[in-house]
Amino acid sequence: MRTRRSVPVVAGAAGIALLAAACGTSGADTGGEAAASGDGEGGDVTLTVATFNEFGYEELIEEYMDANPGVTVEHKKAATSNEARDNMNTRLAAGSGLADIEAIEVDWLPELMQYSDKFVDLADPAVEGRWLDWKVEQATTPDGALIGYGTDIGPVSVCYRSDLFAAAGLPTDRAEVAALLEGDWDTYFEVGRQFAASSDVPWFDSAQATYQGMINQVANAYEESDGTPIPLAENAEVKDLYDQVVAAGVDDGLSAHLEQWSEDWVNAFQNDGFATMLCPGWMLGVIEGNAAGVEGWDIADVYPGGGGNWGGSFLTVPAQGEHPEEAKALAQWLTAPEQQLKAFEAKGTFPSQVEALESEELRGQTNEFFNDAPVGEILANRAEAVEVTPFKGPNYFAIHQTVSDAITRADVGSDDAASSWEKALAAFDELGLG
């Protein structure tokens, strides 16, 4: 019943059967065929890897091809994860056209989990214990299939402008800043109010982005652990966070009223737009790029409320591919600790692999742009501080969008907090989950 009407096994068709009359797929099992062609000298295997943003795979892929002469790897990058997601859904819906390895982000992983039969089960004794437990949990279906290999995670810390701190009379040393911010979100906002008292610069970039950091600490943000959506109108925890962040950002004026990733947000890095921001590991590269030439960025080994994880991705192998075995092997290789360390070095994607987390190489890494901060050490500490694994069910993305929009309306737009929340409730009802 869940299967599509007729879309016949298009799996093998994509590459081979072009001009042939019908797409009467060579009924043979594609896996075997691929393996066979892999052996023959002329029968090279071509694998495609689809990612978005920066995974830091460019050199790794070269390396893999050098080590495996029979394999050609093509790398496709989408501009944003949103586009990657739309594109992937279209191709999943149509039943063909996906890459052999598709990268997915943790936030839209849950909705794909419902269609785990469209992905190859990647569970393998060879990779047991490779990742942090909660990372594996996220990609494991209720019946034990593993649909994605973890790439990076996003342990969050606080990045700050030490020059602006100094101008406002706050400490600038990263240890002192960590001590100053140690505590919960109230502390973070309270320090913000102190800062605002003697500075014109907003405390943080965006209320929505800050909320993102807060909600990532809630175990059951929008859904019960069995996947039942919590009616937004009854979700006191979310409403409290909403009130808290809007009060701090809008009423107390701590927010720069920017929408994350917008033109204004990008420009603000060059114009003293804000003094602090929450920064998951992968954000360091963003800051460095956007704030090129700006002095004063630093990173503190602290996070309001302890630890938090923001984002992180997985590599999946869609079942419609022609070479599932080879694709799995490549995905396994790309997500191995050694490779992830190289990716971290190249683009700052912080490893989710236990071995990589413990390595001296990682711990010893510093970042020149952030005043030579020991970012490896700091992020590893932040990763250890993560206590809660938020449950993200199939409707997480949808409900989160309604709340995010509400905060953006109150922060960047002209809506007041109450009416914006009403709209969120209406949008939630539109989802028709009740």
Partner: protein, 303 residues
């Protein structure tokens, strides 16, 4: 035929051009040269239509930090244009293959639209066959079909054909357009006298030879215009190529938006991409645009 107003434009454009030619010889007070106000107004309009493009060039010749710090770019381009263009070309967005793809897709589409639309337009305008009227109404009606909406079904068709990621997936759906058929029908109705067709038939030409020797030459001005508009249209098309081709085998618009793919946005790089993808079209426009404009203006004179 109670078709909309294009026939009037077409049919009258020819006369207009003829008249304009007459005017140029200078008759009467209405045709005197306009004063400087007119030129001033036009200059302002031209500046407005050119500024956004120039703005792109300005940003493309700058660097990210300068752009972020100065909302109003200096009117004189910076020095980084070539360097930024080189970065675009050398980045991993596959610029050259994308350029080649765009050229192939646009050229093939433009040619085939012209051929098929002229064939169909000739048939609708000058030949008699059962169901002609209803079929033509149907063609016009199809212009209202919101094509963006059929993406998934269309994608299913393409994947059954095994065309996903291949240029024909973009070319084939655009090989003939309702607008083109309609356009050529209206044009040929006016521009091609029955006498010419009859003469060709009397000479013993087959239908297709008649088309080739009589209809096609008569259609040239409108065909040139249709070709250029189709070329531009398919060059600038984004959504469907994005979905069906993806980043692996992109056309230029698909490729340049990938410049935003990196973690941070370097607007000098992104706008250099805009410049690089627009430049070829501007060149085509400079070379062929004159013919295009005169094509629109001269309309049916050639008939």
């Amino acid at each position: 035929m109670s078709a909309p107003s294009v026939p009037m434009i077409r049919q009258t454009a020819g006369r207009g051009a003829a008249r304009a030619a007459a005017r140029r010889r200078g008759t009467g007070g209405v045709n005197r040269r306009p004063g400087w106000v007119t030129y001033a107004v036009l200059t302002v309009v031209l500046l407005i239509s050119a500024y956004p493009i120039y703005y792109a060039v300005l940003l493309a010749s700058s660097d990210a930090a300068t752009i972020a710090q100065n909302p109003v770019p200096s009117l004189i381009p910076g020095e980084n244009l070539l360097a930024n263009l080189r970065r675009v070309v050398e980045s991993d967005i596959k610029f050259w293959p994308a350029l080649v793809n765009s050229i192939i897709v646009s050229t093939v589409t433009a040619l085939s639209v012209v051929v098929f639309a002229t064939l169909a337009g000739y048939s609708f305008a000058k030949l008699r066959f059962r169901g002609r009227g209803p079929l033509l109404v149907f063609v016009v009606a199809t212009m209202a079909v919101p094509t963006q909406l059929g993406i998934v079904p269309l994608f299913i068709v393409m994947s059954k054909l095994g065309w996903v990621g291949q240029l024909q997936a973009v070319i084939v759906p655009g090989m003939v357009t309702a607008f083109g058929v309609f356009w050529m029908t209206q044009y040929l109705q006016e521009a091609l006298p029955y006498e010419l067709i009859e003469a060709a038939r009397v000479d013993g030409c087959s239908m297709i030879r008649t088309f080739w020797h009589v209809a096609l030459p008569a259609a040239r001005p409108a065909a040139a215009m249709l070709a250029l508009f189709t070329f531009v249209g398919s060059w600038t098309n984004f959504f469907w190529p994005f979905v069906v081709l993806g980043a692996a085998n992109p056309t230029l618009p698909v490729a340049i938006q990938l410049l935003q793919a990196s973690y941070f946005k370097d607007y000098s790089l992104i706008l250099a991409g805009v410049v690089a993808s627009t430049l070829p079209l501007v060149l085509v426009f400079v070379v062929a645009g004159r013919h295009l404009v005169t094509g629109i203006m001269q309309g049916a004179v050639k008939g």
